[in-house]
């Protein structure tokens, strides 16, 4: 085994050349790609984080909207309840009023009818009494009785102002 110094020189030259060639044509681009991938992953992580945050925000908004809707519905129901109660009261009130009005009217009608009936009866009675009187006058009138009767009428007329 001899030591051939040119092998040493050739080894050094070959190695240095290999180093620069690899650096330029192989590892340089590969490092670039790895760096790019690292950036890509970083970017994807941050965008995923953003998406998560956005989703959370949306969820929060949805929750709030749901809460709001629930509250609105509750209010509407409450309002409907109070309105219906009020309306029922109003209806009952008006029904009562109507009933009392009807009753009053009925009473008035009765009164009028009664008055009318009374008047009718009175005229009937007076007519009858005139008829009776004329009949009596036709049959049994005499001087004395006539005078008496006239006096009586006069008294009545005079006595009633």
């Amino acid at each position: 085994m001899e030591f051939v110094w040119t092998s040493t020189v050739i080894a050094i030259v070959a190695f240095v050349l290999l180093y620069f060639l690899l650096n330029k044509y192989a590892f340089g681009p590969l490092f670039g790609i790895m760096e790019k991938r690292r950036e890509l992953v970083q970017e994807q992580i941050s965008s995923a984080e953003n998406n998560r945050k956005q989703a959370e925000q949306h969820l929060e908004e949805q929750k709030q909207a749901l809460q709001q809707a629930r509250k609105d519905a509750y209010e509407i129901i409450e309002q409907a309840k109070t309105t219906s109660t009020k309306q029922a009261d109003v209806i009952i009130e008006s029904a009562k009023a109507e009933a009392s009005r009807l009753k009053e009217e009925a009473v008035q009608d009765i009164q009028t009818e009664k008055n009318k009936a009374l008047a009718a009866v009175r005229s009937e009675v007076s007519g009858l009494s005139v008829k009776i009187a004329s009949k009596i006058l036709d049959k049994q009138i005499d001087q004395k009785a006539q005078e008496q009767l006239v006096d009586q009428y006069l008294n009545e007329v005079g006595g009633k102002p």
Binding site: W5, T8, V9, I10, A11, F15, L17, L21, L30, F31
Partner: protein, 256 residues
């Protein structure tokens, strides 16, 4: 033992098998890396892209275990180049060998590939190995270690000047020679460890091959184990490189 084809051009020796091995390793590493990035995609990476990304991540975490995280990033390419080059180099000699028997002087034109003396030295004929792991040659591992050595000390001087210079004289000034020995022993051990492991593996493969068919199960076991050793050695070389860089560039207080 095998003879390696060493030629001389203008008085300068070239080890053909090492050169072939270095070129093949480099081309394989580059082809693999290019295949991994041929169809780059952020969303839908191919299997080989995934694999290469895993290698880079693995190197990043490994380097980060030896030095502060923010400093680790710039050494990923260095670490990955080292580990891929050494691992593929380690595996190169495992699956097969190309050996020719040379009985007469081998010449290409005027260039002597195997000289007559070499053949005579080996008893009339020489086994010439054309194919091996580049890291089974100490000259190649020395080259890698020199790269690491220069890198460590240049980075130390540039990034951490004061503490780098100071550490040669710690804890006392007369420790300077010891510190120098320590610094020199680092690349030497790097080169020798890698070379010895891989070379021993190949020697053992060659030895087992001499057994003939009986050695077949042994050979497959040893090849499997050599893959493991190759991976371990590649990892060790890379991690030690990073540790040395970290020691030279990162000041103690800064590291904590």
């Amino acid at each position: 033992m095998h003879v390696f084809p060493i030629i001389e051009l203008g008085g300068i020796p070239f080890d053909l098998s090492s050169i072939i091995a270095i070129l093949v390793s480099s081309i394989l590493v580059f082809a693999l890396a290019r295949a991994a990035v041929s169809n780059l995609s952020v969303h839908n990476p191919s299997k080989i892209q995934n694999f290469m990304e895993w290698v880079l991540e693995f190197m990043h975490s490994t380097i980060a275990s030896t030095m502060p995280m923010h400093r680790a990033k710039r050494f990923i390419t260095l670490g990955t180049t080292l580990i891929m080059f050494i691992f593929i180099s380690n595996l190169l000699g495992l699956p097969f060998g190309i050996v020719t028997d040379v009985k007469e002087e081998l010449k290409w034109g005027n260039v002597v590939v195997i000289s007559q003396e070499t053949i005579e030295e080996h008893g009339g004929y020489a086994h010439v190995a054309w194919w091996k792991s580049p890291t089974a040659d100490i000259a190649v591992t020395a080259g890698l270690a020199i790269v690491v050595f220069l890198l460590v000390h240049i980075l130390g001087l540039m990034m951490n000047t004061k503490h780098y210079l100071k550490h040669y004289f710690e804890p006392y000034w007369f420790f300077f020679p010891l510190n120098v020995i320590k610094e020199i022993s680092k690349p030497v051990t790097l080169a020798l460890r890698l070379y010895a492991n891989i070379f021993a593996g190949e020697v053992l493969i060659a030895t087992i091959l001499m057994l003939g068919w009986i050695g077949f199960p042994l050979l497959s076991i040893w090849q499997g184990f050599s893959i493991f050793i190759g991976a371990i050695q590649a990892f060790l070389f890379t991690v030690l490189t990073m540790v040395y860089i970290s020691q030279a560039t990162v000041h103690e207080e800064e590291g904590h």
